[in-house]
């Protein structure tokens, strides 16, 4: 009994250690457990940074939302957010409201809105790599499109 438990624990520990070594980004490691509030990012330099920041402010003005990541690509803008725990019952309503407000204020932009943890995590990872200069504009755009494809798979 004790022997079996020991094996299970050691397997888990080795798994965790080996996995964490692969990871290079630091902040995204805990992106699901704590508030990260990454800087809003655009894939192309000098293309609408202010706009992205204003989008982020608008989303953050929602009381139910506490953590926002915004990535703007050539065509589409990805908005991912976390909803406060007790407000998660109203997930769908919040998403609807958010869509409405964003479309009203930025009629020219195309938005993809998601509250999925996975999308959030990938967005944070993308932002981080971009900030560290590990990604070129083109690579960032490609990655963003992959993430956007992922969101369309869910729906």
């Amino acid at each position: 009994m004790v022997y079996i438990i020991r094996i299970i624990i050691s397997v888990c520990v080795t798994l965790l250690i080996s996995c964490s070594q692969v990871q290079t980004e630091k902040d995204s490691q805990l992106a699901l457990m704590k508030t990260t509030n990454p800087n809003p990012t655009v894939t192309e330099k000098n293309n609408g940074q202010e706009k992205v920041e204003s989008i982020e402010r608008e989303v953050e003005s929602f009381d139910e939302i506490y953590d926002v990541a915004v990535v703007k690509g050539k065509k589409e803008t990805l908005v991912v957010y976390k909803v406060k725990h007790m407000q998660r019952f109203r997930m769908k309503q919040i998403e609807k409201d958010l869509n409405k407000i964003l479309e009203e204020k930025h009629p020219k932009e195309q938005f993809t809105v998601s509250s999925d943890y996975k999308i959030f995590l990938e967005a944070v990872r993308l932002i981080e790599r971009k900030e560290h200069g590990n990604l070129s504009d083109k690579q960032a755009e490609n990655r963003l499109n992959e993430i956007l494809k992922m969101t369309s798979d869910i729906k």
């Binding site: 996995c19 699901l32 999925d116 996975k118 999308i119 798979d153 869910i154």
Partner: protein
């Protein structure tokens, strides 16, 4: 219970009252607390596994459930085979029976039990002895709910 008691003779009822006095009651509150903690612990493990899949594989929050459930069932099957899960069940009661691990336990315990009757008639025929009704009524109730939703959709209520 009331209708059941009517059928009994006065002698039977009298005896049952006497027997009730000696009968040991299940410690309901204690069992609830144990079930709460063990059930919560199992769910925490499940949450950790689903985070693991979100972090290191391309699963989103929406579809991470499938691999998580499969892993949890697999783990409970291992524990059943090692003879640990039935002891956990005696301690935790609903705490270990209600999560999906309890389902894995029900399947594999029946399979182990009837191994001696061969693979086809024994394992194959009895594997879902306990879990079969869960599957049947699960599928059936899902069907009924889907039917209601479809009908409501057709009538324009939803």
């Amino acid at each position: 219970m009331a209708s059941k008691q009517k059928k009994m003779t006065p002698q039977q009822q009298k005896y049952q009252q006497l027997q009730q006095k000696h009968e040991l009651k299940r410690p309901v509150l204690k069992n609830c607390i144990k079930a709460f903690w063990v059930g919560g612990l199992i769910c925490t493990v499940g949450q950790a596994i689903s985070y693991f899949y979100i972090y290191y594989f391309d699963f989103t929050e929406q579809n991470v459930g499938n691999p998580t459930v499969a892993t949890m069932v697999f783990l409970s099957m291992l524990l059943t085979g090692f003879g640990v899960y039935d002891r956990l069940g005696q301690f935790a009661g609903a705490g270990s029976a209600v999560p999906v691990t309890g389902f894995g336990n029900a399947v594999i315990s029946a399979a182990i039990e009837h191994r001696t009757e061969g693979f086809v008639l024994g394992v194959g025929g009895n594997m879902f002895k306990l879990a079969g009704s869960v599957i049947l009524f699960g599928v059936f109730s899902a069907f009924v709910v889907a039917l209601i939703k479809t009908l409501l959709g057709m009538w324009g209520v939803l």
